[in-house]
Structure formats: structure tokens, C-alpha cells
């Protein structure tokens, strides 16, 4: 493994980590205090080796009031339009029941459909934009216009070139078309072709898969790993294999849909704890162990905690040390979904486990995807050999789903070798360092400008809060006019008053690209009045940045 301190400012860890965990559990056994533990005047800092800074600033009250006002006006006009459609004054463009089904139970009257028809349709041109190049730090967009207010689109044939990409999950910049980089992938493509035409259990296990699984296991520092063709299916098809009826799933409030789907499919009892809130999780664990199953009062067969490494809508990082100490105290299992954090955090890109300086043996099931940091597709589950062997025979995805195709597997292999330094260069380590620098710079500048940003200071996912529904559309459109592509998120994916724009910083972004984006954001923030933060550090960010640069490097 390449020595990290040779290339960038390394982080010291791994020295007293085992001793620390033991010490902490020893103190737990004595007096059972979980939070705010003090030992010789040192507070919770003994669990976290570096500062854990997260921001979830609340906007001033008038912003919430105005957001509701905006939604109120939108709803009133929605009712007006629905009335006009029902009475034939306006053409019906959206799905509606057939004439013969008018007296049946209505299909499209619920709030979600109302919202889609009347509010989402008005700003629909900001989503599903087709791109026509590799989603690297810049990409090409196909221009499309609408003649009837977003009900239908048509392509003008023009291509908007070199739009700066702030929306793709390209954390380490491995989504590239450089011929030298893709040499091995091309060779494998010519050797194996593209299709597997079989499942893993039949004839779909290639030597490439075996090589990839060994590499993933070495990368993460675990005994064994298994790879699947699709990241979403990894979660939703493997959780039912691990838990069943009579088990308890404790899932974070803001878990991804794949985890929720997997939990529901398994048939186990699901209880939700507040986002990243250790007190809430501990209360649930205590209740589960004291009271057991709901009617029979028997002990639960298994208690499993589902958390994610980085939550993609909030940009927050899981409080892993505390959760691991809780799981050891109450003898539960931990399933960690590192979809966004593998490759993106940690000194050498090995995820949140390395970020907190913990050992991968602490987490029972390590899951991740190759879509985000490795520029490929698919997911993995890693852990003890017994676990992976069990999944090889009992997981739906392993038994029935087509396996990963060889060029994609080769792309992951080359990206992982690059990260680990096995290809003889320090490029992997440089990418990880560059991502860290870009993340810190971007977040710091946004804080200084006065925007409300959620999440941990080290997470490359940066949500910028917009709040009002009118500003969602205006923000995305104006950023595209300035040649910057952003992703905005509104109601169903976020709470109704907290719509946001989500930036994904990449190692492939240069300082100039980030500066372009930041200047555009500054201008747009003033024009749209988005700078709600009460804690902005400086009104002269250029001067402030000068001094900070000298101290940083």
C-alpha cells in the first residue's frame, strides 16, 4: 500500500485505535453512559480522532413562511387547472381514467399525482436532460425546447458543449475516455465481448469476477467479497437473504430507497431512528432487547442496523464509532452502505471505516457500489468468508441476476489498482487528495459567501438549500445559461420546505472550474436572494482566501 504521507498531508491513525475501542467499552460496562462521556476532562473527543463538524442550519422564519405561501399559490392554481380540465375547458395531457372507469375508485386523485400534474410539470425541463458525452468534469448537453409548457419536448439538434458538470457522481474522475487509461478495458472488451448471457450460478462466473472479488477484499481489508451487476439490486436483493421474519431492522430515517425496499421485502419488523441520532438508536435498541417481539415477547432472532456511509441528500457522514460501540454493547449487527463514501472519503479512499480510523472487522456487512467513485456499474458486499459464502448461494441477485459484464469488471479492476498504487503510479493517491482539497475549498467558499450548506465538512456531496419552489426552476435554468449543469431536488425526495441544489465535487475538477462555478453561484445568490446564512465568515472572500491559502499549503 502506498505510503500516504509521501504524496499529501497524511492522517495519523491506526496506532491506538484498538486500545481506544477496548477502553471505551470498558467504561461502558462500568457506568453505561453513552454520550458526553468525560474522562480526565477530555469529552467525546476520545471516540473521534479529528473534529466531526456538521452543519444543519435552519433558515430564518420568514423563509419558511414564504415557502408555504409559494406552495399555497401553486396549490390554488393547481386546483384551478384541475377544475378547468375536469370541465373540458382545457386539454388533458396527463394520464386519466377511461370514460368507462369514471365510477370506479379514482386512480389519480392522491396528492402525489396532483403535485406531479400541477407543480412538477411546470419545472420538468430541469430533469432528465439527455447528455451526449462522457460525464466527466465537463460534458455536452443536447438542447431541447418545449412548445407547450413542458408537456412535450423536442430537440433542436444543437449541442451545448463543455457544460461544467456539478451533478455527476464522478468523485475520483474515473469517468474518462483517455485511450491510455482505458487500454486494459479495450483489451478485455475484445477478448470477452460485452454480454455474459448467464447468471453467476450457471455459467456466468468468469475469471474476471474472481479476480475482481479478490481485489475488492484486499482493498477493503476483509476476508472475502462478492460483486453484483447492479448497485440498487445489491441492497434490495441481499437484505432479504440476510434477515427474515422474526428479525428486527433498525433503519436510519433518511436511508436510500434500495435499503428501504430490501428491508420491506425481507418481511422483518422495521423501526426507524432519527437521522444520525445515537440517542434515538440506543432507545430503540434498549426497547427491542427489553420487550422483545411485539406479541409473543420472545427475543428477536437478529437485530440489524442499516446505515449509509454518506447520505446523498444531506451530505452527512454516519457517526460510525458510536454506532459500532452501541452494536457491540447490545450485540446487534451492522450493515453499512458505502455507496457514496467508498473512494470518496478516507486518507487512501477506503471509505468511512478508514475515515474514522476503525478496523473493517467492526462492521459486519460492508456494502458499496462501483457506480460513484469507480466510473463503472455494479455493487459489492464484503465481510467474513462465511457471510459471503452464504450470500453466494442464498441471495436472489446471485442466483437469478445476470452477472457483471467483463469490460465493466476490468474498469473497476484498473480503477482499484490505480487507487491502491498497484499500477506503479501515485495517480490514485493524488486523485484522493485532489478530491479532499476540492471538497474543502468548495465548501469553505460557499460558507463564506453566506449560503446555507448542509452536511459534514469532509463530504463531497454539497447540498445548497433553495427552499422556495419558484427558485428551484429559476436556479437550474440560469445555471444552465451560464453553462453549468446542476441537479436540483424538490419535494418527494426531500421534505417539502427544504428543496435544494446538490453539487457533487469531483477530483477531475480544476481550480478554475470550481472558481467559475463559485463566481456564478455568487452572482446568482445575489440575484435570487439565496444567501440566508447568519454565520457567513467574511464579506471580502477574496482577501480572506489569500491568507487562508498561505496557511493551508
Amino acid at each position: 500500500m502506498a505510503n500516504p504521507s509521501a504524496v499529501c498531508n497524511g492522517h495519523l491513525h491506526h496506532h491506538h485505535q484498538k486500545q481506544n475501542n477496548l477502553l471505551k467499552s470498558g467504561i461502558y460496562k462500568k457506568n453505561g453512559i453513552t454520550k458526553g462521556m468525560k474522562k480526565n476532562g477530555v469529552s467525546n473527543g476520545t471516540v473521534y480522532k479529528k473534529k466531526f463538524v456538521e452543519h444543519f442550519e435552519q433558515a430564518p422564519m420568514y423563509v419558511a413562511v414564504l415557502t408555504f405561501l409559494g406552495f399555497g399559490v401553486g396549490t390554488i392554481f393547481g386546483y384551478l387547472r384541475d377544475f378547468m380540465r375536469a370541465w373540458g375547458l382545457e386539454k388533458r395531457n396527463i394520464a386519466a381514467e377511461r370514460e368507462q372507469q369514471k365510477d370506479f375508485v379514482p386512480l389519480y386523485q392522491d396528492f402525489e399525482n396532483f403535485y406531479t400534474r400541477n407543480l412538477y410539470m411546470r419545472i420538468r425541463d430541469n430533469w432528465n436532460r439527455p447528455i451526449c458525452s462522457v460525464p466527466g468534469p465537463q460534458f455536452d448537453l443536447m438542447e431541447r425546447v418545449t412548445d407547450d409548457y413542458n408537456w412535450t419536448f423536442r430537440f433542436t439538434g444543437r449541442i451545448i458543449k463543455n457544460v461544467i458538470n456539478m451533478g455527476s457522481y464522478n468523485y475520483l474522475g474515473f469517468a474518462e475516455t483517455d485511450v491510455n487509461a482505458l487500454k486494459t478495458v479495450t483489451i478485455e472488451l475484445q477478448k470477452y465481448g460485452t454480454g455474459i448471457c448467464s447468471t453467476r450460478q450457471e455459467m456466468g462466473t468468469l475469471d474476471k469476477h474472481v479476480e475482481l472479488e479478490k481485489l475488492v477484499a484486499t482493498f477493503l481489508g476483509v476476508e472475502d467479497a462478492m460483486v453484483f451487476g447492479m448497485g440498487f439490486a445489491t441492497n434490495s436483493m441481499n437484505i432479504p437473504a440476510l434477515v427474515g421474519k422474526g428479525c428486527l431492522i433498525l433503519s436510519d430515517e433518511l436511508n436510500h430507497t434500495s435499503l428501504v425496499l430490501g428491508a420491506r421485502l425481507s418481511g422483518a419488523t422495521i423501526r426507524i431512528f432519527k437521522h444520525n441520532n445515537i440517542q434515538s438508536l440506543e432507545n430503540l435498541l434498549r426497547d427491542a432487547i427489553i420487550y422483545g417481539q411485539p406479541r409473543s415477547r420472545r427475543a428477536w432472532r437478529k437485530i440489524i442496523i442499516l446505515v449509509e456511509g454518506i447520505y446523498s441528500m444531506e451530505g452527512s457522514i454516519v457517526r460510525l464509532p458510536e454506532i459500532v460501540s452501541l452494536k457491540k454493547k447490545y450485540k446487534a449487527y451492522l450493515y453499512l452502505d458505502e455507496a457514496h463514501s467508498i473512494g470518496a472519503v478516507g486518507a487512501t479512499g477506503r471509505g468511512v471505516v478508514e475515515y474514522f480510523g476503525m478496523s473493517p472487522d467492526d462492521v459486519d456487512v460492508l456494502m458499496g457500489t462501483f457506480t460513484k467513485s469507480f466510473g463503472a456499474a455494479g455493487g459489492y458486499i464484503a465481510g467474513k468468508k462465511d457471510l459471503v459464502d452464504f450470500l453466494r448461494t442464498h441471495s436472489h441477485s446471485a442466483v437469478y441476476a445476470t452477472s457483471m459484464c467483463p469490460p465493466v469488471a476490468e474498469q473497476i479492476i484498473r480503477a482499484m489498482k490505480c487507487l491502491m498504487g498497484l499500477d506503479g503510479t501515485t495517480q490514485g493517491q493524488q486523485r484522493v487528495c485532489q478530491l479532499g482539497k476540492n471538497t474543502r475549498y468548495f465548501r469553505r467558499r460557499l460558507h463564506e459567501m453566506g449560503f446555507i450548506i448542509y452536511g459534514n465538512d469532509d463530504s463531497p456531496v454539497v447540498p445548497l438549500l433553495l427552499y422556495m419552489p419558484g427558485k428551484i426552476g429559476a436556479f437550474a435554468r440560469r445555471m444552465l445559461e451560464k453553462n453549468i449543469g446542476v441537479v436540483v431536488v424538490g419535494f418527494p425526495a426531500t421534505p417539502i420546505t427544504e428543496s435544494r441544489a446538490r453539487f457533487c465535487v469531483s477530483a477531475a475538477h480544476t481550480r478554475e472550474m470550481l472558481d467559475t462555478v463559485l463566481n456564478a453561484l455568487d452572482e446568482l445568490g445575489d440575484f435570487l436572494h439565496l444567501k440566508y446564512s447568519r454565520y457567513s465568515k467574511s464579506s471580502h472572500p477574496e482577501l480572506y482566501e489569500e491568507t487562508r491559502l498561505e496557511l493551508e499549503d
Binding site: 409559494g70 399559490v73 392554481f77 419552489p469 426552476g473 436572494h529
Partner: protein
């Protein structure tokens, strides 16, 4: 120059109004409807204010004058 910056400021205020009330998202005929309604309400409010507020203020003023006038007499009698 002052007129230009004033106009820019007014345009910016109008944009803020559009964004906050979601009229930025509306089709032109909806905007006309919304603005007509708003302007009508505003005009009616101003008209009502113009007619009734002076009368109310003068009535209230007289009431308070009467109240304080009475009190002054009372205090005088107590001291005596």
C-alpha cells in the same frame, strides 16, 4: 445613473415577488389572472383604508381624550 440603479432595484424586487409567489412558473394567462386578483385586492384595501381609517382614528382619539379628561378631574377631587 440613479434612475437606472433605481429601475434595476425595482426589477430585482419584481423578480423576487415572482419567485416567492411562484408566478415565475405560471403561464401568461395565469399570471394575468393572478396579478389582476392581487391588484384588485390591493386597490380595495387602499380604498377602504382611505375611507375608514381617518374616521376611526379621530373617533379613537376623542375616546382617549374623554378618558384622560375624566381621570384628571377625579385625581383633582381625591387630592382635595
Amino acid at each position: 445613473m440613479d434612475i437606472k440603479s433605481m429601475k434595476n432595484y425595482l426589477y430585482w424586487l419584481y423578480c423576487q415577488f415572482e419567485l416567492i409567489t411562484c408566478s415565475y412558473l405560471m403561464e401568461p394567462w395565469e399570471k394575468i389572472l393572478f396579478y389582476t386578483f392581487n391588484v384588485t385586492m390591493l386597490v380595495m384595501l387602499l380604498y377602504t383604508t382611505y375611507i375608514f381609517v381617518p374616521v376611526h382614528i379621530s373617533t379613537a382619539f376623542q375616546f382617549f381624550l374623554h378618558l384622560f379628561g375624566n381621570q384628571q378631574e377625579n385625581t383633582v377631587s381625591v387630592v382635595k
